[in-house]
């Protein structure tokens, strides 16, 4: 195999890692922002995801180049197809993240303390997301060790199901409270809805991990 080819394939990986790192930074800023109710951090969080669409296009183009020039087979082909699919997922991830940040701006000095409390509780979800993104980045690095790949993939799954549990608890909590106070607080409902965006991000990350499993271990797409 020509070294240029291997280079190009590596570049696809690196670019994908980069996009995930962008998301990671964004998530971390959001977490900061929410913990400290610091409005400026929202803007900072928006910053890294602005360039993602462009970067995804670059990934797509790199994959096309590899396909055109090297007609990859087996593992290489699986990897290229997987990354093409992952690129689409990354775009979605970025959109979800953007929506999440926009919506979470509701959390500022004027936010009702009760709502704020829910949001603060929901931050364990964010921490899970951050860990899951970190795992996904790790996964891209692992090319040969099937055991390790499966292990990381399962950790991502664990984070995803943890978030599900956390959200379920949060929801129960909110509903109980609303029941007690015999009223429907729009803000509560909205907060829950926005938090759910974060779950979608984890969904996508699971998706990416399964594509990486296809790339590195095989099976069907």
């Amino acid at each position: 195999m020509l070294p240029q080819n291997i280079e190009k394939i590596k570049e696809v990986r690196t670019k994908t890692s980069e996009v995930l790192s962008d998301l990671l930074r964004s998530q971390k800023f959001v977490l900061d922002a929410l913990e400290q109710c610091d409005e400026k951090s929202y803007e900072q969080a928006m910053e890294p995801i602005k360039g993602i669409n462009k970067k995804v296009e670059v990934i797509d183009q790199l994959v096309v180049t590899v396909m055109v020039r090297y007609s990859p087979e087996a593992r290489d082909l699986r990897e290229m197809i997987a990354f093409l699919k992952i690129a689409s997922s990354l775009q979605r991830l970025a959109t979800n993240e953007k929506n999440y940040i926009k919506n979470m701006k509701i959390c500022n000095e004027n936010t009702e303390p009760e709502v704020k409390k829910i949001i603060l509780e929901s931050l364990s979800i964010n921490r899970c997301t951050i860990r899951a993104i970190e795992y996904a980045i790790d996964m891209i690095e692992v090319t040969d060790d099937k055991e390790k790949l499966r292990e990381i993939a399962s950790r991502i799954d664990v984070e995803a199901s943890k978030t599900d549990d956390i959200y379920t608890m949060l929801e129960k909590d909110v509903l109980q409270r609303m029941n007690q106070e015999h009223m429907i607080n729009e803000d509560f409902v909205n907060a829950l809805k926005y938090i759910r965006k974060n779950l979608k991000i984890l969904d996508r990350l699971e998706d990416i991990s399964s594509k990486l499993i296809f790339a590195r271990i095989g099976g069907t797409l």
Partner: protein, 265 residues
């Protein structure tokens, strides 16, 4: 690829030693050839692809001193039983075997006679003398080999004057005319240009309606686009055998994967 496929040949623990060779060239191979499917054999040069292929119609036995071990089963037309072709000893048994298991080579091998006679030759050997029947079978074979239109007006010209691709199709027609059960191809296109190659590939993929095909090829793309099953051989061993798409997308063995992705050696 459904599950109703019936084996037509089965190779069991086949060992093969060339005369005078110290080491066996095939070291206990197992392989099933399914009916009306195309099975490709790939692997680096010298791994024993041709040797295995040539065992399937015992063409090795033209040269004395080859040693076989194990079994090569071929399904009988009449009884449906699997008979071991390694048990054959008599010349007329060989002749019958080779009429059932035909062979096409890397370089086209037109006989030094007319186009018509090339196809008629095998038919005559098999006892068909009647002119009408011959004509019919020859036309049919040439049509099946997708070369009828190009030669119908010059059946009496010498076959040597045709282009390489045409010659190869003529050779296929010659084999097909005998209605073999299995056709063995040893790198049938490696001496041809891409356009003739495409024509032969198309022809082979048409043929599988009627016969079972086993093809050795150096060209992995060819194996992957043409075959239903692929066998990867290495140093006289069958390393991997499976449906082509599986072998090329999800090879089980690292050796296969390395070879397919060009990271070999």
């Amino acid at each position: 690829m459904n599950t109703t496929q019936k084996p037509i040949m089965e190779i069991k623990d086949l060992r093969f030693i060339y005369p005078g060779a110290a080491q066996p060239t095939l070291k206990g191979n197992n392989l099933t050839i399914y009916e009306n499917q195309i099975t490709a054999m790939i692997g680096p040069s010298g791994c024993g692809k041709s040797t295995l292929l040539r065992a399937l119609n015992r063409i090795h036995d033209l040269y004395p001193g080859c040693k076989y071990d194990g079994e090569i089963l071929l399904r009988s037309n009449t009884t449906g039983e699997m008979n071991d072709i390694l048990k054959l000893r008599k010349e007329n048994e060989f002749i019958k075997l080779r009429q059932q298991v035909g062979m096409i080579f890397q370089k086209p091998t037109p006989f030094p006679m007319s186009i018509y006679d090339n196809v008629a030759y095998g038919l005559r050997l098999s006892g068909i003398k009647n002119k009408g029947e011959l004509d019919g079978r020859i036309e049919k074979a040439l049509k099946e080999a997708a070369i009828w239109d190009e030669v119908k007006n010059r059946l009496n010209d010498s076959a040597m004057g045709m282009s390489g691709g045409q010659q190869q199709r003529l050779c296929i027609a010659r084999s097909v005319a005998l209605k073999p059960k299995v056709l063995l191809f040893d790198e049938p296109t490696s001496a041809l240009d891409p356009i003739s190659t495409a024509a032969i590939e198309e022809l082979i993929s048409e043929l599988k309606k009627d016969v079972t095909v086993v093809i050795v090829t150096h060209n992995m793309q060819q194996a992957s686009r043409l075959s239903d099953y692929t066998t990867f051989m290495y140093l006289g061993d069958i390393i991997e055998f499976g449906p082509t798409e599986e072998v090329f997308l999800n090879p089980r063995e690292k050796l296969t994967e390395d070879y397919i992705t060009g990271r070999f050696g």
